[in-house]
Symmetry: none
Subunit: 197 residues, 4 copies
DNA sequence: CATGAATGAGTTTTCATTCAT
DNA sequence: AATGAATGAAAACTCATTCAT
């Protein structure tokens, strides 16, 4: 039972491992974790079923690595967005943040759903998501203080913003209702959030 | 392939069918849809595995009926809450609605997660949720008009309220962060929503 | 993951479980444990692969139950042989014991090999075999004392007898060499052992 | 399908082949044939998995060569022991033989078990063991004749001695029972065998 | 209606062997 | 000769669904 999981060093191998993660990401997002089997992942990645187990301990391991990609996709641009902010033009910042959140959702929400559903009971994933939300809230808060904001209950307000922005993005991308004018709703949400500060 | 799925008429049968749905509800919520098998559901319900297929076309069918229960648990009390409202005391109404949403979440959020994981991978699940949100939004809006509200973009505002209340409930119940004072956050959210009207 | 391993109560089920054990016994003996797969066992037993896991936790579990049968086959008749002995006619007793050992070997030695090889490192099987040898040695010794034997180092002598008889049986059945006259060798062995007492 | 299995001529190659055999020997003995895979053997030998098939037709081939080593380990010293014998001091010879057998068993018994498990399921393994036993029996018998022994049924007696010595060694090394005084049992066995001549 | 044993297709995973480099 | 990544057939095991009783 030699625990051999290749840690690929060569370009070709790294690329192959990434192909498998990508394939897993795509299929998990499209069809869900349980509706995707390793043979499909291998086929999508253009490799044999066997080699999948050369790079990953098991199917769940592919998901965990896909999760890392997902978290990167989602949070890295938000944080870099934050770095660019230098003036306290809240309306502008928020509207860009919403724009961004919607775009991210459009590209990654299927994976979000898969991860979220699978791991509402899984400690590792829970912890990772939680940690990132905390980081976001704290960085954003610090930024606001930097920009001269002085109000009370900063964490709670920032957290509310994050929560609402995420909800809205999900709503617009996924639960698109005919009777809702989403451009209008976006204005309402934006306005509502701005009044917090 | 005679499509015979009993529509139970007798009391005992109805009760048995309900036991199966309850069992499914419990296990789907606890462990997720794919981690629950029909034998377990039957055992939990105290019936034989075979008879499950006397009442349900397949496993998914149990989920759909469990979903109906879930939707009932969640929306019926909201709608009845609405019926009781006779004066436009928005702060009171909203705070009760939030209170209610949190409670409902506390009891049913696990099932929510399970169902959510099947969103966008199952048309019927999607459709039913969507229909109920629409119903909610429209009834709430009508109520507000009854109460004399005259503002613009009513649907969008109401929808925003529903969305935010749900997010907050989920947040408080599930993603409990140490650095957040949820009582304070609740006030902030309530206040923020009230200003919409 | 409900650990459901049927403990069959009904005649038909018991019979089916026994068919699977018999099939396992046969194939494990003929081809060895690792050269036999569950599908073959199921086929040999005339059942589906699935039901095998209704009666047994896993493949190893089949082997363990087959071992019980083996141990029964081997030791029960020896012990009952012992019960019949009433006079200290050692030559007669020993020659019957050898006869018996050879027969048992002829029928079960393949299984013996399979078990022995597999479990020289397995505590459960080791312990079981060891316990039975101890029981044999002690019962046999007690019998001899009953019959009036008074010599020293009884356990060691009896153990030697058991060991030699088993070796001879294995030798005659398995390692049949052309240059050996086994009838003659049997006499030699018998004679040699008798002189111990 | 060109049957190219290198017969290494160069020192380095020969040494490499031997390393593989040693590795196979070690692992087969420790974990059994089927619980050892070729990747592990290669790793233990410090070579690549691919090159293993440069020196061996297949996995079984490694076993067969490891078996040769085993047989050498076991029989060579016995035969050389025999060469040293010049006087018919049977007690001395036998007690040294037993001593030797026990020692050999202590070092190689795990491999013995592994090989034994393939008896009767592998013709070549069977044949080689058989041939060596025959050689042993015949050489030993010839020696005895040289030394002036004149009794009947020589082969059978010698074969019995070999068989008993082997059994005892296995017994002492492997099946160590608390209720047996092995020093005493060894005396009993030795004495018993001596009386054969 | 009810039971629960039985089915068998489908899934994850392993590993002897091959092959591109 | 040597490497170790890659292959893919085969194995153990699961489970939604059916069926004999």
């Amino acid at each position: 039972m030699a625990e051999i999981v290749r840690e690929p060093k060569q370009k070709r191998s790294i690329e192959k491992k990434e192909r498998i993660i990508k394939a897993g990401y795509k299929l998990f997002a499209e069809k869900g974790y349980f509706n995707t089997n390793t043979a499909e992942i291998a086929k999508e990645a253009g490799v044999s079923t066997g080699i999948v187990y050369g790079y990953f301990r098991d199917k769940r391991d592919i998901l965990l690595e896909a999760m890392d990609i997902y978290l990167n996709n989602v949070f890295t641009p938000i944080l870099s967005l934050l770095d660019d902010v230098t003036t306290p033009d809240f309306p502008f910042i928020l509207s860009r943040a919403i724009e961004h959140a919607v775009n991210v959702h459009r590209t990654n929400a299927a994976m979000h759903t898969t991860l979220h559903s699978l791991f509402s009971k899984d400690e590792i994933v829970d912890a990772r998501f939680s940690a990132l939300e905390e980081e976001m809230t704290k960085k954003l808060s610090a930024k606001l203080v930097d920009l001269g904001y002085k109000g009370e209950h900063l964490f709670e307000k920032v957290h509310t913003v994050i929560m609402v922005v995420q909800s809205f993005a999900h709503e617009e991308v996924y639960d698109h209702h005919d009777y809702i004018d989403y451009a209008e709703m976006r204005k309402i949400v934006l306005d509502m959030l701005l009044r917090l500060f």
